[in-house]
């Protein structure tokens, strides 16, 4: 019984979302508003719903992926068809027969076209609807038995004529009445309404739903309008069926839906909208002879063209395609920007330093000794004392050098694929230019990703070709063979498996730099010449506390102001192999990554009132190695700190300028001892910023002991939340 009720709710949601899909949204309220507007003419509204339901039943009957009707993706084309037919014909039995059949046809077209186009990464937009409606218009004329009665006027207009006339009069009284009429009617024409009232309501709903989409609709329409106006275009097709909505849809689609909203995406529209106008005009000429309406064909062609072309660029700068569709230009913008800020430099495969303890980069990238031209992305390491000397007096023998014979470890896991051994260490200052790399080990981490360690001590190599070695495993010791006037370690990443291959620019995943006896944390960057660097060794206490293994449950006892509540979390994995914390109490999820050095959250879905959300913000990024004085910084989205009103202004401006943002800082507080900690407290500060000035603050603290996370304290404005991990 419960399951049936749940299914019905999903289907009802699917119906509503079909409406919002038309305007590139997945918002239920927008869907409901559009549905109500479609009932301005009950015939249109009803046939729209019949078309959707037919689609949904087809999906169930033919066993298609049901999740695609829950979000309206498989049904919005049928909805368009229903609305179109409802606007042409009176309700009758032949009409219903045709409607049901063609709705099923639209569904099949949708599934087929979606399947084909998704393989090349393109959307199907309203192609299925266009094909289906043309089939009806061309095909029905031969069936004289099917008598469809064309509609003259529009029902609500008949019943409340004053309402519509007054709205039209109101617009007439403004100085841009032509423009406004065309804008509002075009906006409503998307759902076959063609009147000012519907247009105004839709524009208002669009504004509520998305400032960026609203701004883009005006921006895009204005460009198209001005293009027609200035170049004395023939306005007939624009006025006849108000297909000026092609400018609006193209603007929303390319300005903020398929492309991340930005100054460049707005710039792009200056080119795209005139092209749409030309395509529209050209198609109008052709389709006019066939007596077929164009509807959304021009915008569909232009969007497919632009998205398809942008996909085949080698890199993008400021004009990014949306990777994970958020169904909102705002979310597309903020999330992409925030993910880019956070993870742009990240590499999928992590390479660490091939050393134990603190070493100095004696020659970095583009060094002036040997790291030049094709070999410029390499590092040399040695060990120095406080006086910056690499050796203990007299320094005439390799053994006097601090780094000589020190262990060299695997920078990451992989197969040993090439070894060169048996080359003697040089006398100090001498170089072996014949076997210039000296004793060398090459490790294959992945196809096209190799690391090479050179100048090793002869006979010190502890691995064999073909061995699988783990990150951190010792492979040899540091020597002075090859072109090495004094003992040092040469380390490079390369794309080919050969000794002598050129270097590849590849950052080191995580490391610490020591300066003035203090460490600083670096991620995915290039260690610089002269820096003293070391790897980060995770602390077992922190590893244990953040080892969130799927299936693990955490129960919190939360004191939130004066209230006391209990939340239960579980760790789950989704179908894309991403781990997330799920709060059973608030039904929220927070996606996280634990890569052994960092624990960080990537995304959140659910209610912002939940403790999980507070936790997600307050412990956005945590380092698992315990070193005195290190800090990590991160970014937070402005929505975390600012409510709807300031965000309203920011949304309009966001593609061009951000005056609101948020940042995050992590540092260790009291740690009982950094070597074998048994009690760690760390502190984080989150700041909401206006014009780079901190105005909002969330200060948090987490205590960790042997049993894991023990207490969490979050101070947000005057509200203090204290949570104790029960188990």
């Amino acid at each position: 019984m419960f399951a049936v009720a749940k299914n019905v709710i999903y289907h009802l949601k699917g119906i509503v979302l079909s409406y919002s899909q038309i305007y590139f949204s997945n918002n239920i309220w927008l869907g409901i508003a559009l549905m109500i507007i479609s009932f301005f003419d009950p015939g249109i509204g009803l046939s729209g719903i019949i078309a959707i339901v037919t689609c949904q039943l087809s999906c169930l009957f033919f066993n298609f992926n049901i999740s695609s009707i829950y979000d309206g993706a498989y049904t919005y084309n049928a909805l368009l068809l229903g609305l179109a037919m409802g606007s042409f014909y009176q309700m009758s039995l032949p009409f219903l027969t045709v409607l049901v059949i063609t709705s099923m046809l639209t569904f099949f077209l949708t599934v087929w076209i979606a399947g084909r186009l998704s393989k090349i990464g393109l959307p199907y937009l309203s192609l299925p609807f266009l094909l289906a409606i043309w089939v009806i218009l061309l095909g029905l004329s031969n069936f004289t038995g099917i008598k469809l009665v064309s509609k003259e006027t529009f029902s609500l207009q008949l019943w409340f004529p004053n309402l519509f006339i007054n709205v039209t009069k109101l617009i007439d009284s403004t100085s841009f009445s032509d423009y406004l009429h065309l804008y509002f009617r075009s906006l409503s024409a998307v759902i076959f309404q063609y009147n000012d009232l519907a247009g105004i309501i839709i524009a208002f709903c669009l504004l509520l739903r998305s400032r960026m989409a609203f701004a883009l609709s005006i921006y895009g329409f204005s460009i198209g309008y001005l293009f027609y106006y200035n170049f004395e275009g023939d306005f007939t097709p624009l006025i006849y069926s108000y297909i000026g909505f092609n400018f609006i849809l193209a603007a929303i689609a390319l300005g903020g839906f398929f492309i991340v909203p930005s100054a460049k995406s707005h710039f792009l529209l200056l080119f795209v909208i005139p092209v749409t106008a030309l395509v529209l005009s050209a198609l109008h000429t052709v389709f006019g002879h066939l007596h077929l309406p164009l509807y959304s064909l021009p915008y569909t062609i232009v969007v497919l063209l632009v998205v398809g072309v942008l996909q085949i660029r080698q890199f993008s700068n400021g004009l990014e395609l949306v990777n994970l569709q958020q169904y909102s230009p705002e979310l597309n913008h903020y999330k992409t920007l925030y993910l880019k800020k956070r993870f742009a430099g990240q590499t999928y495969f992590h390479i660490y330093l091939p050393i134990i303890g603190e070493w100095t980069i004696s020659q970095g990238h583009l060094g002036n000794i040997t790291h030049k031209e094709g070999w410029k992305y390499a590092w040399d390491f040695d060990v120095r004392d406080e006086m910056n000397a690499t050796y203990k007096a007299p320094g005439t023998d390799v053994k006097d050098y601090y780094c000589y014979d020190l262990p060299v470890i695997a920078p990451s896991s992989g197969y040993v694929i090439a070894i060169k051994d048996g080359i003697e260490d040089n006398l100090i200052s001498d170089v072996n230019l014949v076997q210039n790399w000296g004793n060398t080990v090459i490790i294959k981490h992945a196809d096209g990703l190799y690391t090479k360690l050179s100048h090793l001590k002869p006979d010190s190599i502890k691995v064999k070709e073909g061995d699988w070695i783990h990150a951190g495993e010792q492979i040899a010791t540091c020597g002075s063979s090859g072109r090495s006037p004094e003992p040092h370690l040469h380390f490079q990443v390369q794309a080919n498996p050969y000794i002598g291959s050129q270097t590849l620019y590849y950052p080191i995943a995580y490391y610490l730099v020591k300066l003035n006896n203090a460490y600083s944390f670096h991620n995915f960057s290039i260690p610089q010449e002269g820096q003293i660097v070391r790897n980060i060794i995770p602390s077992s206490l922190l590893l244990n506390a953040f080892s969130l293994i799927p299936g693990r449950n955490i129960v919190w006892n939360i004191i939130d102001g004066a209230k006391n509540k209990e939340n239960k979390w579980s760790v789950y994995v989704d179908i894309y192999n991403k781990k997330y914390l799920y709060c059973h109490t608030t039904k929220s999820s927070a996606y996280f990554v634990n890569d052994g050095v960092l624990f960080y959250f990537t995304d959140f879905y659910g209610t912002k009132k939940s403790f999980l959300y507070q936790f997600y913000i307050s412990f956005h990024k945590v380092i698992l190695g315990c070193y005195k004085g290190i800090e990590i910084n991160d970014w937070l989205m402005p929505q975390v700190f600012f409510n709807k009103l300031p965000m309203l202004f920011q949304d309009f401006l966001a593609p061009f300028y951000h005056f609101l943002d948020g940042n995050y800082n992590f540092k260790f507080g009291a740690v009982d001892n950094y070597m074998n900690p048994e009690k760690i407290i760390f502190e984080t500060n989150c700041n909401g910023r206006v014009f780079n000035k901190n105005v909002k603050k969330i200060d948090s603290k987490m205590s960790i002991d042997k049993s894991g996370i023990s207490i969490v304290e979050i101070q947000n404005k005057n509200k203090k939340t204290t949570a104790t991990c029960v188990y």
């Binding site: 070493w359 020190l406 070597m675």
Partner: protein, 453 residues
């Protein structure tokens, strides 16, 4: 041209040794300055004899040792061995360099606390810990290294009574192939005593076994013995993980690294045979890295190195009181410091340099201390240039065990000076006075009055 040095004539037999184009010379150069401060000015200002420590050398030593270990093993922690030298200023140099404290008695423990070392960074070793000592250590969360079963039982009782789980380690002794084998401290590995103690600790559940400790000997000239010891310790730690699923946080390899002093009876000089710290580091780190620990469960390596970190940073300055000729014709020189303050001369042939320029001739000499005791011999035989009364000498490698083992037998203890990094001397311990000596004495009433006739 400088005035030529006058030296009294000496008579020495010709011996047929290896030909040497430089002739027979003394092995030493004069040492007139320590860290840029002249020996004469030091003696003039602080008196003779005088202990001098070089802050620069101490820091250099600990940094070198740390670097040597930390570039071979990811988790290393040094703990300053208080018994080696527990002058507070000395300890604080090492604490500033990140060393914890390793103590073997209550008063050393209290010293460490007073020096500002947090309780959980004081390793409490030694066979003699009273109930009270244990209580204090438990309260401060200090790791307690258990030496014998009786201590284990007492500690278990105290822990039960205090309702806390103290952090403990056991000291393990073992055969590492060297002689003498130290088996008087801790529990033996080969006979299963160590496992017996481990089983008792983990079965009782009253104590938190966090570490394993060994200290295989002192002045160890064979680094490979440490490799054997580290492997056996790792074996225990892995065994504990397997049997009880308890991860051992640290393995304490103790101390015992040799300094460059020459042991009595050694054919070669210490500086020629003592292995560098890197050789100890190499075998210990290799043994631990290859033992098979999981990457995330690698134990921290604790080191309680004392001697090797300070011996060469300490100097004893003294003056010649007199010269005399013994009945067998040997030359003897009486110095103003004796075995009471240079206790280590019982087992070392300390290197001693004159503190002033000298000529090319040397003479075999016996060096005596100032005590009116027959045992007061600093060197039975040393080849030195002729020294005159009032001349100064510098004894090298006197940083370890000298100050802590010195006593006021016959002569009072001298001042101790530390030369800082800028070359400025600081008194870190004042010269002992009669008042200091009699401070704790008490006179019964009936002995206060007497008349000597």
């Amino acid at each position: 041209m400088a005035k030529k040095i006058y030296e009294r004539p000496i008579i020495r037999p010709l011996n047929t040794g290896m030909m040497n184009k430089f002739g027979t010379r003394t092995e030493y150069l004069p040492v007139t300055h320590i860290d840029g401060v002249s020996v004469k000015s030091l003696i003039k200002q602080y008196g003779s004899p005088l202990f001098v420590f070089s802050e620069r050398q101490m820091r250099e030593n600990i940094r070198f040792a740390k670097r040597t270990f930390e570039t071979r093993y990811p988790k290393v922690q040094f703990a300053w061995s208080y018994k080696t030298n527990y002058l507070n200023a000395i300890c604080n140099v090492y604490h500033q360099e990140g060393s914890w404290a390793e103590v073997v008695s209550r008063f050393e423990y209290d010293k460490a606390i007073n020096n500002g070392v947090p309780g959980d960074k004081i390793i409490f070793n030694g066979p003699d810990k009273t109930d009270e000592d244990l209580r204090v250590a438990i309260k401060n969360n200090s790791p307690i290294h258990i030496d014998h079963l009786d201590e284990l039982y007492r500690l278990t009782d105290i822990a039960t009574e205090m309702k806390v789980k103290p952090r403990v380690a056991i000291r393990v002794n073992m055969d590492t192939g060297i002689y003498p084998m130290w088996d008087r401290f801790g529990f033996n590995y080969e006979t299963g005593q160590a496992w017996d103690a481990i089983n008792k600790i983990l079965a009782s559940g009253k104590l938190d076994l966090v570490g394993l400790h060994t200290h295989i000997g002192t002045y160890m000239l064979t680094p490979s013995a440490y490799g054997v010891a580290a492997a056996k310790m790792a074996d225990l730690a892995l065994g504990i993980k397997n049997k009880y699923d308890t991860v051992i946080q640290y393995i304490d390899m103790g101390g015992g690294f040799a300094s460059q002093n020459t042991l009595k009876g050694s054919f070669l000089k210490g500086s020629d045979i003592v292995p560098p710290i890197s050789e100890y580091a190499e075998v210990i780190c290799t043994a631990l890295l290859n033992a098979g620990f999981k990457n995330t469960e690698l134990p921290t390596l604790y080191l309680e190195t004392g001697r090797a970190l300070i011996d060469n940073a300490g100097f004893l300055l003294g003056s010649v009181i007199a010269n005399k000729r013994l009945s067998d014709g040997r030359k003897a020189t009486i110095l103003d410091f004796g075995v009471n303050i240079l206790f280590t001369s019982f087992w070392y042939d300390h290197k001693i340099s004159p503190a002033q320029e000298f000529g090319m001739h040397t003479e075999d000499t016996v060096l005596y201390g100032p005590l009116c005791m027959n045992i007061d011999v600093i060197r039975e035989n040393i080849s030195l240039p002729p020294l005159n009364a009032g001349d100064q000498v510098v004894v090298h490698h006197t940083g370890a065990y000298t100050v802590t083992q010195s006593m006021q037998f016959i002569a009072l203890r001298p001042a101790v000076v530390m030369i800082d990094l800028m070359g400025k001397p600081h008194v870190i311990k004042k010269k002992e006075s009669l008042k200091d000596l009699e401070k704790n004495e008490e006179m019964p009433e009936f002995l206060k009055q007497f008349k000597l006739v």
